[in-house]
Symmetry: C2
Subunit: 215 residues, 2 copies
DNA sequence: CAGTTGATAGACCGATTACTCCAGTTTAAA
DNA sequence: TTTAAACTGGAGTAATCGGTCTATCAACTG
């Protein structure tokens, strides 16, 4: 008999995934066809299905891989000796891959809302990232870098919002976004160091509170 | 001879656009086929092309319409007597249409990076929205609601980042996002009322300014 | 070497794609 | 009423889609 080499198999798999990523970056998550992927990978159409059951399986593997990468980067950041702000600041800036990479991320997010299978993957990793952020914040509290009374869960969600928002403007208008980055960073600092009441403290739903800070 | 009725024609056009929007919400910007749109609109496939040259023309018209709507809403907000924070707060919350509407927005943003034609449309309207924000901020300065030294262009970009970020988390995790909303709102207040030097001036890197208002 | 099995290619499939063509109907000006 | 343009429906287009099938090749085992 003959035994298959799982290492080689996995290597080829990753090779195809790399080609697929290039195609998705170029043509979008729905725009890249299996034919395009095969051409980029230099394999025949039939051969593709020796490594992936369906086209969706490729997409799923790719999303999973990308999110794992982000998770690892954050984890590496938390272990480094840098402050939280320093760790998160790069995330506030543009994606390394540029606009195409961000466009692909938006494709993924949109897709995760329509394809339940990928929704599960994305949600799971989102939870993972938030947990890492919470851990990071907790560590920050122990160092006095983060306000002790801060609701870490809510803060983590807010930080994710800041990161995503930064990505959007970085994609749409890199020039202006560059200037806005330091401001976002200051907002992050403010968030970490200010005792905020996340909920409950807005019963004064005054409709007439128009003129506020007229000091 | 006979002349065509431009009013009736336009009405039917809008009708088809409405059907197309429902399809795009359901199946995504690339996922909805012309056949699906025709079925939803109750017309024959051939008939569709009496009103639109190509499928992309439908998408373009739809993007344009949606962005115009957002622009109008913001403009309406600025003319109302409410404060800036009150005007922008709804934008920080979820989209009325829910997750599907947000997913579609992400589709549009991603598409605008790949299709230059739509990139032009989206960029143009983004500029418009930022101008409205700047105008709003300037008015806020005249009322003392906004710090006088604030760089309005940069602030507007930052606000757009906050709004987009809020949309993302609202889509991915509506529950947590609801709790994070008041925090984002506080960040917005902080942004408007704090004299921020967008660049260069961040040497007061006070690391020990943790305890502030403990009242 | 023989035999088995993974690796690979490419023809091929029905379904679907955006889109076209044309014939029939309606409409209103001439 | 005549007539021609506008409206409408739906069959039909070539191309492409994701995916299957089979045949050949290559490599390892006995």
């Amino acid at each position: 008999m003959r035994k298959l080499d799982p290492v080689k198999h996995e290597k080829k798999r990753q090779e195809i995934l790399g080609a697929a990523m290039r195609c998705f970056l170029r043509s979008g998550l729905k725009g890249a066809s299996t034919a395009e992927i095969c051409a980029e990978a230099g394999i025949s159409p039939g051969h593709l299905y020796h490594y992936f059951d369906t086209r969706d399986a490729i997409v799923a593997a790719l999303i999973e891989g990308r999110l794992e990468k982000v998770t690892e980067q954050l984890k590496a950041g938390i272990q480094g000796a840098r402050s939280i702000v320093e760790t998160l600041a790069p995330e506030l800036e543009g994606q390394p891959g540029g606009a195409a990479a961000m466009a692909l991320i938006f494709d993924m997010m949109a897709e995760s809302k329509r394809n339940p299978e990928m929704g599960k993957i994305v949600n799971s990793h989102n939870r993972g990232i938030r947990e890492i952020l919470v851990e990071m914040l907790r560590y920050g509290q122990s160092r006095g870098e983060v306000e002790a009374k801060l609701d870490l869960e809510v803060a983590a969600t807010t930080i994710m919002a800041l990161m995503h928002g930064a990505k959007v403007v970085a994609m749409q208008n890199p020039k202006e976004a560059g200037k806005a980055m330091p401001v976002l960073r200051q907002l992050l600092v403010h968030l970490l160091m200010t005792p905020m009441e996340s909920a409950g403290a807005e019963p004064p739903r005054a409709k007439k509170t128009v003129a506020r800070a007229r000091s």
